[in-house]
Symmetry: C2
Subunit: 420 residues, 2 copies
Amino acid sequence: MSEQLTGNCLIAQSGGPTSVINSSLAGAITEALNHEAIEEIYGGLNGILGILNENLIDLAAESQQSIRALRHTPGAALGTCRFKLKRPEDYARVIEVFEAHNIRYFFYAGGNDSQDTADKISKLARERGYELRVIGIPKTIDNDLVTTDHTPGYGSVIKYVASTVKEVACDNAGMGQHDLVQVIEVMGRSAGWIAAGAALAKRRDDPSGAPHLIYLPEVAFSPEKYIADVQRVLQKEKYCVVVVGEGLLDSDGNYISTDSTGSDAFGHSQLGGAGDYLRKLVEDNLKIKARSIKLGMAQRAAANCASAVDNDEAFLAGQAAVKAAINGETDKMVTLLRGEGESYVCETGLAPLSEIANGVKLLPENWINEDGVSMSYHFYKYALPLIQGEAAMPFENGVPVHAKLNCEKVQRHLSPHNFE
Amino acid sequence: MSEQLTGNCLIAQSGGPTSVINSSLAGAITEALNHEAIEEIYGGLNGILGILNENLIDLAAESQQSIRALRHTPGAALGTCRFKLKRPEDYARVIEVFEAHNIRYFFYAGGNDSQDTADKISKLARERGYELRVIGIPKTIDNDLVTTDHTPGYGSVIKYVASTVKEVACDNAGMGQHDLVQVIEVMGRSAGWIAAGAALAKRRDDPSGAPHLIYLPEVAFSPEKYIADVQRVLQKEKYCVVVVGEGLLDSDGNYISTDSTGSDAFGHSQLGGAGDYLRKLVEDNLKIKARSIKLGMAQRAAANCASAVDNDEAFLAGQAAVKAAINGETDKMVTLLRGEGESYVCETGLAPLSEIANGVKLLPENWINEDGVSMSYHFYKYALPLIQGEAAMPFENGVPVHAKLNCEKVQRHLSPHNFE
């Protein structure tokens, strides 16, 4: 145990949510309650924006039921943001807010952009001689963070996507219609992890099953090859289920889309339309009927079909963040480490924030088969353990029950921040 | 008990499937096994097409596990078709096939088109003096059949849609972004039953919740009113969840869509695109970010989120069809009858096929509030009982397990049918 640092802790969430993001929040709160060094447990509303605005809530005042319900509540219960800290005044303000509320522990759940933000805040605190421990909690459906075997949120999104693909395939297989092409667009901006996960709908011993074709951002898209791929499937099968990641790129590195609408504050293009594009390609070139599904935000909110393994690991990651900070760690993100043995075991580790920030983990090349549209044994071995178990979802009046936090406000000590 | 008619039975499925269509199949098979008058239990592959092609399978030869697994398997396990019997030769062929296989009981699961087909087959058999009992099993997510309180398949699709809306709303509510508009397109060709069902995501005592706006085919769509509706919601809420039925119509009765691609064999227009259209209307007119989800076939295949009440009623409808035929009934469809009391009770009844064929049950006008975009108390009272209970879905390797029938072929007795 390192030197004890007594003070308050602040937990915040950032970026796009996952269906288990609040399980990490529940884990962190639960663990924080175990440590006397942590006096107050605050939540920052809407990530870094809430800190700038001194919008803090008292998480210890929430009921036990609410904390338990967080484990099944999708979306960021504290709110997230995509605001990017840029100006020195903004960074300085974060430290001022921390000082004003004696925040000595800062836990930030997010993807690589968020870990970058946490890293910079930590560095500034050190420069200013303000003692602060900063631990990142990994969170992204995209599974693209480096240094961690996988990210909390990923197992659940691919369990939902694979289950949906398997169910839709039952539907398509039973349609009398021949040559039905069903395109399912899934998320995945910079890497094909989610689209790849659809492969889990297909048992490796059943090569005829759906998804028949998977298009990944890692493989440059060729319309000619795509049409040939679909024709090849339809020579053997009555129907063809195509899964496509929204971040599909052509051979020049441009997004494949019927619809392009600018980019977000981080410079990421806003995608959408790859699925419709692939549907139209089939209709225009093969003159057969195609259908499309766009799961959109439903896939990252489907707590109702979350993986129990993923949910437990998300909780564990929240707990581990608090334990690490109490043990004197800082400037680290919790990582998930897979055991070496044949049966799946997962432990938490730590990695420097600076290593995670803005790194992107792509699918290893040899996890994609030579045909470019299916996943190899390596991927199955990697991903299958992550979707095991069904998180028991409470229902009321026929629909899932979600946590509703009281959000008791912490009194402000500072004047409003000047954003201009 | 009427005069005993001994012979074989044939079960077939038609039209678009539901997530509980095979529960009715399981109910019919289970019940048929109880009656000695029924000698063989055959399934017709791909609806009426399988009958024309003499593509029959021996359902009694399937394993007990397979029949049990049918209760959780979406899509038509026997295959469906959208083939429409038109020529006298086709109708005559059906009777020939029935004669060749001594089919005396015919159970047809489908929507109004299918019940029309069943009605015509029954009439022709009577004309020809061939003793045949024909009972329809209701089946459609659209809930648009007349004479039945509701249809098996409807409760499950709206449970899935309402659950998805509630989950997506958690996601949207947690996004830091203000003025987020989320459009969710659901099925519903001629009536707004499915879009209306999304209302169940919102508790009546929580007027701020999602879905904020529901656009139904029953209410002529006005782009100006829509934009005003969205603005009104965004004055009070940070985000706006819009649910739209694919069959939305403008004031001239034309489908609202960015994309029109012809019509099917029954003259129904192939829809798609209302969601994207509404998303673009917001982006173009309000200059704010909007997102869209298109659940497509996933919604009618989501056995994983099926209603236990619906699943049980689907099974019951299959059983009731067989019981009715054994009792000497014919030319009827099984209906679901709701008890008069305060607590929900459902029994089966029977209605003449000719009444169901091609009738369409619209949402009653007073079930839609005056604002045109939300549902009244009457709808909640009607729909809430239908989504109760969660059908226990078996999972294997992290994904749902589905029945795979052996499909042991019944030997053909006739020469191939001439379709020309």
